[in-house]
């Protein structure tokens, strides 16, 4: 699970710089939550470009995550990047007043999509490419909102497990309190990812690494000493979330079809 952090940073900063240029943008934009992923992504973006080319949006839902907001402000201040705060509670509250629910996941998804919608609006206003901050762990188990926090222009960190993102964070010298705090999607007060997923990121990443990177079969991983229930739960999470990692299937009825046999590169003519 250990990685060559310097090489990863070199590859990812180059990726951000090159893809931003190719997409025809001069700057990037990302949402800052005060958590590990968006903080590391902001540090990488500043290394790749200049601080004045990195715009950050802090988009709290009222006072739901005060600590996150103050940490996000701190990161923006330390990096000397432009930052704007937009409270998303008016539009979220208006919606749920009309369509009430007690389900916190529905609320969380709606908030994630509201933030996405604001990011895309500011991307167009400021002509800034959106950096995604989903890591490999989230992408694999589907711990993210489709068309919400998973939406972006490019994703520099999608091939790094959560624990590897933390390694990058250490090397990039992000604030200690962000490295140390429990990851949270900020769905409700006191919510933690690990509590909700039911596994620690260390366990989760080690099992995912064996399954995905090392191509081990679930039974082999169980034999190696991992808990049967946990291994199979992870396999199920991967299976159930494949739709989040794909463009929706197009029903093919013609001779040549988008997504099937009309195949062009993303970086076409760039």
């Amino acid at each position: 699970m250990k990685i060559n952090v310097s090489l990863a940073i070199k590859a990812l900063t180059g990726f951000i710089r090159e893809e931003t240029r190719k997409a025809g943008f001069h700057q990037v934009i990302l949402g800052l939550s005060g958590g590990l992923d968006s903080t590391v992504c902001a540090y990488l973006a500043v290394m790749a470009l200049k601080p004045e080319k990195v715009l950050t949006l802090i988009m709290p839902y009222g006072d739901l995550d005060k600590e996150g907001v103050s940490q996000a402000r701190m990161v923006a201040g330390l990096l000397k990047v432009k930052s704007r705060e937009i409270d998303i509670s008016p539009q979220i509250d208006t919606y749920f007043a009309a369509y009430p629910t007690d389900n916190p996941v529905l609320k969380g998804n709606k908030m994630a999509r509201e933030r996405m919608s604001i990011l895309y609006d500011f991307s167009a206003r400021e002509k800034a490419l959106i950096l995604g901050t989903s890591n490999k762990t989230e992408l694999l188990i589907g711990y993210g909102t489709i068309h919400g926090d998973m939406a972006c222009g490019i994703n520099p960190m999608g091939d790094l497990y959560k624990t590897q993102v933390r390694e990058l964070g250490r090397q990039l010298k992000i604030p200690e309190e962000i490295l140390a705090k429990k990851p949270t999607a900020g769905l409700w007060p006191g919510q933690t990812d690990e509590g909700e997923i039911g596994l620690t990121y260390e366990e989760l990443d080690r099992i995912l690494y064996l399954l995905v990177d090392r191509r081990r079969k679930p039974e082999e991983i169980i034999k190696a000493g991992f808990e049967r229930k946990k291994v199979w739960r992870i396999v199920e999470m991967i299976k159930k979330s494949e739709f989040k990692r794909k463009m929706p299937p197009v029903a093919k009825i013609s001779a040549r079809t988008v997504g099937h046999d009309f195949l062009y590169p993303y970086d076409w003519d760039k």
Partner: protein, 287 residues
């Protein structure tokens, strides 16, 4: 002999702009008095072409891009990569490497081994070449390979058996694997270097490897181009992940010296290998 390595990042699917990039580097190499300049795989087109491959394919005998490069080859030998529209077999396109010299096409090698697994899908878009044939450049008998060809050691063996003193591989190899905290490059970088060292030593041949840099659709091309001398010693390696240009001095007399010290070439028995292969192939057919 002076060899220039242009470790570049071509523009994907735009031959005109890539031609300009080539001509700029050729000018630079000429001013540094290089005898040969080597570009990476698909240097005229970019790598991840998908359906663009058939659209961007060119016929070397008719292409205006080739015409300009043929003109440039009057001052310096060129090796570059392009999508070849076959004249002998219409409708087929190849991932090819060309060697131009003194205004003529000396050789075109069509990539034989098309990676089609994992992140690679070349077999969907290209036809596969069917031979390895070394040719004379006037300086040294040379064999061309394209990327994955080099990782199948039979390819280099054919050039060795054919008497090549220089093996040139053009490449668009993504860097993959960052599990070794101590390594300078990717895990896959090691793979190319291992082959470079082995092939140069056991063929007593100069091994030139030019790998591109840059990013295409998330693929991270690793760079790390290199030249090994015929004793298996590294002459130079270019940096990983960065565009670079280097002119390196290669002493061709080392081929003779290496073959006197280590008579692998003199003692080689290609006819035994051929007969053995023939038997193996005949015996291994499926009923």
């Amino acid at each position: 002999m002076k060899i220039a390595l242009a470790q570049i990042s071509p523009i994907l699917g735009n031959a005109e702009r890539n031609l300009k990039l080539h001509l700029d580097y050729i000018r630079k190499a000429v001013s540094r008095k290089a005898d040969l300049i080597v570009f990476p795989e698909l240097s005229l087109t970019g790598y991840n072409l998908k359906d663009l491959a058939v659209e961007i394919a060119i016929n070397p005998r008719k292409s205006s891009v080739f015409k300009k490069l043929l003109e440039a080859s009057r001052r310096i030998d060129l090796v570059f990569g392009f999508v070849e529209e076959a004249t002998d077999d219409p409708g087929l396109v190849y991932n090819s490497a060309a060697y131009l010299s003194r205004g003529r096409i000396l050789h075109i090698h069509r990539k034989v081994f098309l990676p089609t697994s994992g992140m690679f899908e070349e077999g969907r878009f290209f036809a596969a070449g069917r031979q390895f044939r070394p040719f004379n450049t006037g300086r040294v008998k040379t064999g061309l390979l394209v990327c994955r060809d080099f990782l199948h050691y039979g390819s280099s063996y054919c050039h060795f058996a054919g008497g090549a003193g220089m093996i040139i591989t053009i490449s668009a190899a993504p860097g993959r694997g960052i599990d070794d905290p101590q390594a300078q490059g990717f895990e896959t970088s090691r793979m190319w270097e291992l082959m470079g060292e082995s092939v140069s030593f056991f063929s007593s041949a100069v091994v030139v490897y030019n790998n591109r840099v840059g990013y295409e659709d998330g693929a991270v091309f690793a760079g790390g181009s290199f030249i090994y001398n015929p004793f298996g010693k590294l002459i130079a390696r270019l940096p990983y992940l960065e565009e670079d240009f280097a002119v390196l001095e290669v002493e061709l007399a080392e081929i003779t010296r290496a073959r006197k010290s280590w008579p692998f070439r003199r003692d080689e028995r290609p006819e035994v290998i051929w007969q053995s292969l023939e038997k193996i192939i005949r015996d291994s057919h499926e009923d």
